[in-house]
Structures are given as C-alpha cells and as structure tokens.
Symmetry: C2
C-alpha cells in the first residue's frame, strides 16, 4: 500500500473551518487506500502570538523555555485534526515531536533532526490509523522540547517521509505548484509538472519562496519525492524529484528567478596582491553580513576592482565596513548601488546545452538592458541589472527560453 506524508502549513489549518477542510481532503485520500502521515504547523498567527507572550516577559527569551511555549501551537492543531478525522469515521491519532520520537540536537529554536523512531507510526498505520504529527518540533536526548526554527514543518514532513520510506511527501501551500517565474510579472508563466531538487534549490534561494530550502536539501539528500500542491484546489501540483536523465524533451531552462533584495558594493583600485579577497570579505563576514554574488575583474595596472552583493538591509553597514577596509589596504574608492536586481535562469538542461548564457545575454541586449555583474553555476546563470529593467528582463528571458504558456483559446 502506498504511503504518503502530507504537510499542511499554518494557513491551511488557520481556522476550525480550514481544519475541517483538511480533514475532508485527508479522508478522501484515505478512502483511496493510501496510508497517510499528516504533518501540521500551528494555526497561522499562533506562533507569533506565543512568541509575543514571551517577549512581554523579556526581550531575549531563554531558548529552551521559548521552545516549550512555541511547541504548543502544533500540539493544538494535531489534536484538532485528529478529532475532525475521527468525527468523519477515520481512525486517527496525534503525536507531538516528543511522542513520535523525533530526536534532535539541543540547538533550541533551530534544532536539527538526528533520528526518527518509526515504530509507533508504523504500528498505527498497520492498525489503519491516520497518524497526525506536530511539525517543527522534536526532543533532544535529555527530553528537552526543541523546535526546528521557522518553516521547520516542511523539514519534519520530509524527514518523516525519509524515515518511513514514503512514496511521496506532499507539501500543501497557498500556490498550486512551482512556476517558471512569478506570474505577477509574467502572466504567461506556467506551472512546472516536474523540477529537480537542484533546480528547486536554485529557484528557492533566488526568491521563489514556495518551500523551505532546508527541506528541499533534505529531500534531495534522501531522495524523497516532494510534491508542492494547493491546499484547497485540485491539481497535480509540481513534483520535485531527482534528475532521471530520461526526459529527452526536458526544456533547457526550468524557470526564471529574480529578486530585488540585494545591493551592490564595489571597491576600486585595489592593489592586486595574494589574499586581497580575504582582506576585503573577512571584515564583512566578521560583521555578520552575508554576501551573495562576488565578482573580481582581471587585474589592470596591478590593481583590481572587486564587487559583491549583500542584502539591501545590510547595505549601510557593509558600506561602512568596506570604507574602513579601503583605507587600510589603500584602495582607490568604494562605490555602491541599491537600485539593482538579480535575474537568474535555472535549469539542469543547461548542463547539456552550450550557449545558454550567451542566449540569455542576447535576449537582454535586444532590450538594451545593461548587465552589471555575471555569475554562473552549473545549472544557473545570474545577472545583476538596473532595478527598473527587472520586469522587462524577466519577460524577455521567459519568452526567449520558450517558457511562455501557449495562448489559451479566446485569448
């Protein structure tokens, strides 16, 4: 019998009405003869309410105690769903992270799963019960309650699917799948039937906030087929799986990701000596600023230019660190720009297709969009452009890589 792990997020269980809808959905699956483990988040808003309570006591709640409080959110939803299932004649049982037992390390508020005991769950499945598990939480070896950090319910779902060798882990969300790009920017964007873990990771980290990155990494590592679906609309969603190299018709590019959260900093006229990159980025990292793209041009007159991007919120901080560095190492000047955007094409197909980058640059050139920075990986090419051209660039690339949906009848 097929075994599926289904994860529903906070919005999907945000009210009693919603929980009843989830119960209807789960019942339908159960009647099709599927073994089911359901992972739930807290009702939307509840985790924040609980954190607020703690914050009223102290600005810096003790992490162990914060986990004790915050973990109650899922504890409520799992019992409510179990009741709703039983009301429908579907045998069900709820388990907290401790009860399962989902063993984690002791890093409170951001714990990592070490091991999952599948005994209880297997016995319940065998007895015909739907098992409803609290997401986002676990227990350490000393019996302390831990939480996996925000979005951790996805990770719980994937980890359970891996431990139980489930046929699929379904993540129910408020979108009906992963799209070739943001439909708000490109109305012709299409839902992808299938995407690889690697592509999904590149898409997610580049701004398509459908799934928690950690859960995708986890799914890839343990090869758990992951499916993104809409909680309350019918549809096949998007399957995230390994690249089986079978798909001859696989498009070169799976999607166009973009974001406008970054800012660019350039230090110019840097004496080109060994270790200069560390001299520049060391202090940035020491200031806890995360760097995304890094570009160093070839040397010219024994000096070089060094450019990188940081999150826009950290631009001012990074600028001041960099200006200090510039004085110390005798660089000519520091310049920056926050009105930039990053656009990336992502696809495992580019591995076997030459000229993908140049096709991208051509499409941008046709629209007279100037490229400020370029960075490439095996399955991704990213460019930084002036922010105002962002939508234009995304649409041009979406068309150039033949991702546009065919016009529907009557359109």
């Amino acid at each position: 019998m097929a075994l599926i792990v289904q994860k529903f997020g906070g919005t999907s269980v945000g009210s009693i009405e919603r929980i009843e809808q989830v119960a209807d959905k789960v019942k339908k699956f159960r009647e099709q003869g599927t073994d089911l483990v359901v992972v739930l988040s807290a009702m939307s808003g509840e985790t924040n309410r609980l954190i607020d309570l703690a914050k009223q006591i102290t600005d810096k709640p003790e992490p162990r105690e914060l986990d004790v409080i915050v973990s109650t959110g899922e504890q409520v939803t799992i019992a409510l769903l179990s009741m709703a299932l039983m009301k429908r004649g579907v045998p069900a049982v709820s388990y907290t992270g401790n009860q399962v037992r989902i063993l984690t390390d002791s890093a409170h508020n951001k714990a990592r799963i070490l091991q999952i005991d599948d005994q209880k769950i297997r016995a319940d499945l065998k007895a015909g019960r739907v098992v409803v598990v609290a997401g986002f939480q676990g227990v350490d070896e000393h019996g302390n309650i831990t939480t996996l950090g925000r979005g951790g319910s996805d990770t719980t779902g994937v980890a359970l699917a891996a431990a139980l060798k489930a046929d699929e882990c379904q993540i129910y969300t408020d979108v009906d799948g992963v799209y070739t790009t943001d439909p708000r920017v490109v109305p012709q964007a299409q839902r992808l039937e299938k995407i690889t873990f690697e592509e999904m990771l590149e898409m997610a980290s580049l701004g398509s906030k459908v799934l928690q990155i950690r859960s995708v990494e986890f799914a890839g590592k343990y090869n758990v087929p992951l499916r993104v679906l809409h909680s309350f609309k019918e549809g096949p969603g998007t399957l995230i799986t390994i690249d089986e190299e079978e798909s001859m018709e696989q498009p070169i590019i799976s999607g166009i990701a973009f974001n406008r959260d970054e800012a660019k900093l350039t230090i110019r006229g840097v004496p080109d000596t060994p270790g200069v990159a560390f001299k520049i980025l060391g202090p940035i990292s020491a200031a806890n600023i995360e760097v995304d793209m890094i570009v160093q041009n070839v040397s010219h007159d024994n000096t070089t230019d060094f450019t990188f991007t940081v999150h826009r919120n950290e631009y001012e901080k990074a600028l001041s660190v960099l200006e200090n560095t510039a004085r110390e190492i005798g660089a000519r000047e520091v310049i920056g720009d926050i009105k930039i955007a990053k656009v990336s094409i992502v696809g495992v197909g580019m591995r076997s297709h030459a000229g993908v980058a140049s096709r991208m640059f051509e499409a941008l050139a046709k629209e007279s969009i100037n490229i400020q920075m370029i960075s490439t990986s095996e399955i991704k090419v990213s460019v930084v452009i002036e922010e105002k051209y962002l939508e234009l660039a995304v649409r041009a690339l979406h068309t150039a890589f033949e991702l546009d949906a065919p016009a529907r009848q009557g359109e």
Copy 2:
C-alpha cells in the same frame, strides 16, 4: 534546606503582569534560602478557550486528543514563569508532566497519578534551580498525555510535595485562608490558623470551595502539610495538617459550612421489607444522580418514610425516577422540596466533647428554626432547614460555638 512546593492557580498567572508578580514572590522565597518547586495552572480562561476550540470540531471530543490540546495551557505558563525568574537572576527550569515524569493511569480527562519520578527535580534543586512544573497533567505508560481533570493542579502540587517529602505544600488562591464560615454571611467569621485534613474535607465537600477535595485527601493520605494562602496579599494563611491532639485549647467546632444547592425528596408509606433502601436508591443511582443525605425513620404500621437529598439541578429527574419506584413498590406518595438548605458544624473537637449536637439543636431552637433532617458523622453534624432561615442559622451557630471574632477597637 527547607523544600516547599508552591501552587499558583489560573487567576494568579492570568496575565503577564500576574506572572511577573508570582516571579517576584518566588524570588523572595528563594532568597530566604528555600528550595522551591512551583506548580502552575493555565492562564485563567485558557483551558476554556482550548476546550471551545475542540468543541467547535465535535460535541464529544475524543478524550485522548482533548488532553493533547488542553495540556498546552500549563505548558505556556511554566515557560513564561521560568523566563520571568531567569530575568530576575533566579535560575529556573520548566517541566511538563511528561518531562518530570508524572506517571498516571490512562483515564484521559480524569487521570490519577500513579508515580512521580523525582530524579530530574532533585538534580535541578541541587544545582540551585527553581523547578517549575505544569500542573493538571501527566503521561501514561504508553507516552500518551493525560490530564487530571479540573482543579487537578492542586493534586499535582500535593503529589509532588509527597514524592519529594517537601516540608510544606502551599496553595495560593484568591482567599487568604480557610474561614470559620462564609464572611459574607457572618462578618465576624475568622480565618483559621490551623485545621485538620478531615475537617477540611468536611468543609470543602460542604461548600467551602477553597481547595479541590482530591488534593486534600491526597495530602492527608501522605501527610503533606498543606497551606492555603492569598496569591498577592501577605499573611500566614491556614495550615491544613494532621490532628496532633496536642492542642488543649482547640475549639470544639472549627467551622460552619452550608449550602443551598440541594433539594429534598421523600417517599412515604413504603412497605418496610428488607432491601427497600436499595429498591429506592438503586434506580436513582442508575440514573446517575448523586445522593447526599439519607434518612430513614423508624417503621410505623409496617410502613416507613424515606428521605434523601440530591443536587437541585437533578431534582426534577430524581422526582420522576422516584415516582416510578413508588408505583412499583406500592408506596403511598412522593413529596419533594427544593427550598431547603443544609447547615453543618465541623470539628475534630466534637470527638471528645459530648453534647455538641444538642448544643447545635438548642441554638437553632432558640431562633425557632425547625430541623427537617439530621445526619451525623464523627466530626460533623448536618441539618436540613428551610432555606429562608439559612443566614440566621449560620450566624446563631457561629455565635453559639464561640467562633465570632472579638470586636475590633472602635467597633
């Protein structure tokens, strides 16, 4: 070092402000060098909110799942108080019933404590920590979360005090102690310094709703000195302890209890044959109606009259059951009265004093109050009177047994 278990109820932790006040109080005790275990209820209203959530799903929530939900209430308060203590520089740690581990049977929603593991708590106390434990909850041998039923936090406190051989279990409430009678009826009512477990049981079951009966039974059984105190006012409260027979000056009567929640039913002209009491009360019990006082008069013409009291809410139901029985056994008639009240004098002192009952009857006679029923136990005499005489009776008895507080200066 002295070890005290302190229990704070829902009103005492009903807001962040209140929790901060409790933290101040606990800190003060800690600074006096006392080892402390603090037992908490959920914030007032929270348990009802959680039950309401469940009731929105189903009228009859599955008991196991209801416990999963309801137990989150205390889980939140224990962590909040621990944080508040740590903010004050007092090392503290919170434990759920499962974490302690408070082992109970599997009777969800009304579980009984079987065993308490004191290892973790002892280790924490030794390390100088205040241990904050969730009241009202435990875990069964299969790891299922259980709750002890309403008011169960008192029982948790007493059970912990017994397991840890604590010097005292302090129950903080919204009254400053146990009184000789209800001060709203008798302004001269006095706070008792000390009362025995047995007296407290009689007082509690007769309407002085200060402590949960089960916790008093428990305290008596394990001889845990219990003290009732006001959460936010200073004062010694009332100590509930064993009768040490030392107190030569012990008053005969400790208090006057009363209630008006009962109704009286009489079946008259019952053929007086063996087993008639069972024939009458069997159907009442089968209908799940609890009976309080029972009086059977001596036989007269081979028939007898049989009178008992039930809760007023169950009067109509009991009446209809009794009328059926009367037809079956050929009794003459059934009469009833809901306008009655029960007044009781309670005190271990009456064991060694003859004539206590007659002194009671004399005091009532002086006020021309007719006694309808009488029932006695070793440390209690109860009478049923017409409801309208209740306050008069209580005041008369309070004076007759010398319980009135001496008039204060200026009064």
